[in-house]
């Protein structure tokens, strides 16, 4: 059942409007996309060691991952692949997260000639953190040393909230297997 999220289940990140998900499931999908896939991508960016070619390839992936977070929160079907997701992001922006296409393209240096690796690395991290910063609460650092503990804690919290609202979060078990 897609009940509206109650006030107790949402909060507002500083400087941005609230992110309204239509259901618990959509919230969980969005958070999963953020803390597993987007954070993983940003970790790749931070570990680029100044390799510009690598960062240019990661730019498409960052676009795809932020689009995936936005689509998940909106309850929309995922794009057919990462390239299509990135193409959607640069034309439509991130409507749920209230980031326009123009802002995305500008921040990711798509409106100018190629910059340095340092410029691009900073731009990618900035956009990633812009999106993560809009998700309330603590995001588990899935890839870190304590990642497994943090993921399990998050799953327990989500399961408790889901139980109260009558949702089935059994699909998360399969996600944990994929990690």
């Amino acid at each position: 059942m897609n009940d509206p999220v109650t006030p107790a289940e949402r909060s507002v990140a500083a400087g941005a409007g609230p992110v309204f998900a239509r259901s618990m499931l959509e919230l969980v999908e969005g958070y999963w996309a953020a803390f597993v896939h987007l954070q993983n991508c940003l970790e790749d960016v931070a570990g680029s060691d100044g390799r510009l070619d690598y960062l240019q390839a990661l730019r498409l992936k960052v676009l795809a991952e932020v689009e995936a977070v936005d689509s998940a929160l909106a309850g929309s079907a995922a794009a057919a692949d990462q390239v299509h997701a990135a193409a959607r992001a640069v034309e439509q922006g991130l409507p749920t997260l209230q980031v326009s296409a123009g802002v995305l393209c500008e921040r990711l240096l798509l409106q100018a000639a190629p910059g340095t690796a340092g410029d691009l690395e900073a731009a990618l991290i900035e956009v990633g953190e812009l999106v993560l910063g809009q998700l309330a609460g603590e995001l588990p650092a899935a890839q870190g040393r304590s990642g497994q503990r943090e993921i399990i804690r998050a799953l327990r919290l989500w399961s408790s909230a889901a139980e109260v609202r009558g949702h089935d979060l059994g699909f998360l078990g399969a996600r944990l297997q994929d990690l």
Partner: protein, 356 residues
């Protein structure tokens, strides 16, 4: 067009290059390789062959890269060994995976059959493999802990198979780029252009025996391609692709981004694969998509099972589109068609493919 001599030299080296890169990684890391291998294998009992794979074996590892290992075995005891997905060693994340030797051989046999068909008929099916493509590619290119690599002999087949698939991706993204330009979506056109270029690079890299599943490394691998070793068509393709890549990355105005379509057209797949193959592309319904007239036009129904229903009127214009017909779309129809492709309701079908 396969650079057979380059690939043959690589196979003849018996994995020496991958072993050298792996040792260089440990030297830079400062970790004791023997201690690491003892740590990793401490839980396993039985017959197994471990491989360093991915960035470590390829010389692409950064200061924070994971160490990825694949353990190849048919020993049921080894296959039952529980593996943590959160292993760390000296502050690096370690990824270990066990895969079956017999499944690897089945995959390689299937790839060989498909390539025979492709050579004879110019067509191949998108057949599922028993293993993930990423695992097959990694183990073929991996560096053994001890001894010679077992599957490097399959590199010629893996290279050609990857080249066929990458060329197909190039055609597909080039198609989407053209639709995006027609739809007035120049930012999307640039994205498709970069993706098409990456696929073109992967095609030439594969022709030279450099195969890697993860496209985030494509531009970096392209930069490292030893151009001096290329000749003839491969050298010409490399030069054209490099020029196109520089121009796409520099495309900052709307005009330049729309011009990406023409850049890709100049690269035509015959540059990448100058053999007499059919090379069109057209749209087909996505997997599990049904068309039913009992649905208001422009309403898209998606069930929990993933099946999707479209009204035939929304498809009529899109499905008529083949590569040569994109200019006949109106901008509005092009936008709708592109959205349907992006959401998986339509898919780009390369005419070499047999859809089974």
């Amino acid at each position: 067009m396969i650079a057979a001599d380059l690939i043959a030299r690589r196979v003849a080296s018996g994995g020496e290059v991958a072993r050298g890169r792996t040792q260089a990684f440990f030297d830079a890391w400062g970790a004791d390789r023997q201690a690491f291998e003892t740590f990793l294998l401490r839980s396993f009992q039985g017959e197994l062959t471990p491989y360093y794979v991915s960035t470590v074996a390829r010389g692409l590892a950064s200061s924070t890269s994971d160490v990825d290992v694949i353990v190849v075995t048919d020993d049921p005891e080894v296959r039952r060994t529980p593996l943590s997905s959160m292993l760390f060693y000296a502050n690096r994340r370690v990824g270990a995976k066990v895969i079956s030797r017999s499944e690897i051989r089945s995959c390689l046999a299937l790839v060989g059959e498909q390539l025979q068909r492709w050579r004879a008929e110019g067509r191949c099916a998108d057949a599922p493999l028993p293993l993930k493509w990423v695992d097959l590619e990694r183990v073929v290119n991996g560096a053994t802990f001890v001894g010679e690599p077992e599957f490097l002999h399959a590199l010629p087949d893996i290279s050609l198979w990857t080249a066929v698939g990458s060329r197909r991706s190039f055609v597909g993204y080039r198609f989407c780029c053209a639709i995006a330009v027609r739809a007035g979506q120049v930012e999307a056109a640039r994205v498709y252009g970069e993706a098409a270029l990456a696929a073109a690079m992967d095609t030439v890299l594969a022709i030279c025996g450099d195969v890697q599943w993860n496209t985030k490394w494509t531009f970096e691998r392209w930069r490292r391609l030893p151009r001096a070793e290329l000749s003839g068509d491969a050298a010409e393709a490399a030069r054209s692709i490099t020029e196109a890549h520089a121009r796409i990355l520099a495309a900052a105005t709307s005009e330049a981004k729309a011009g990406v379509k023409d850049l890709l057209a100049s690269l035509g797949p015959e540059v990448l694969f100058p053999e007499p193959r059919r090379d069109g592309a057209r749209l087909k319904l996505g997997t599990d998509v049904a068309v039913h007239p009992f649905l208001p036009s422009a309403q898209i129904l998606q069930s929990d099972a993933g099946a999707t229903v479209l009204h035939p009127a929304d498809l009529a214009a899109g499905l008529a589109v083949a590569s040569a017909e994109i200019e006949r779309l109106t901008p509005e129809t092009a936008r709708t068609t592109l959205e349907l492709i992006q959401r998986g309701y339509l898919r780009v079908s390369h005419e070499d493919l047999v859809d089974e």
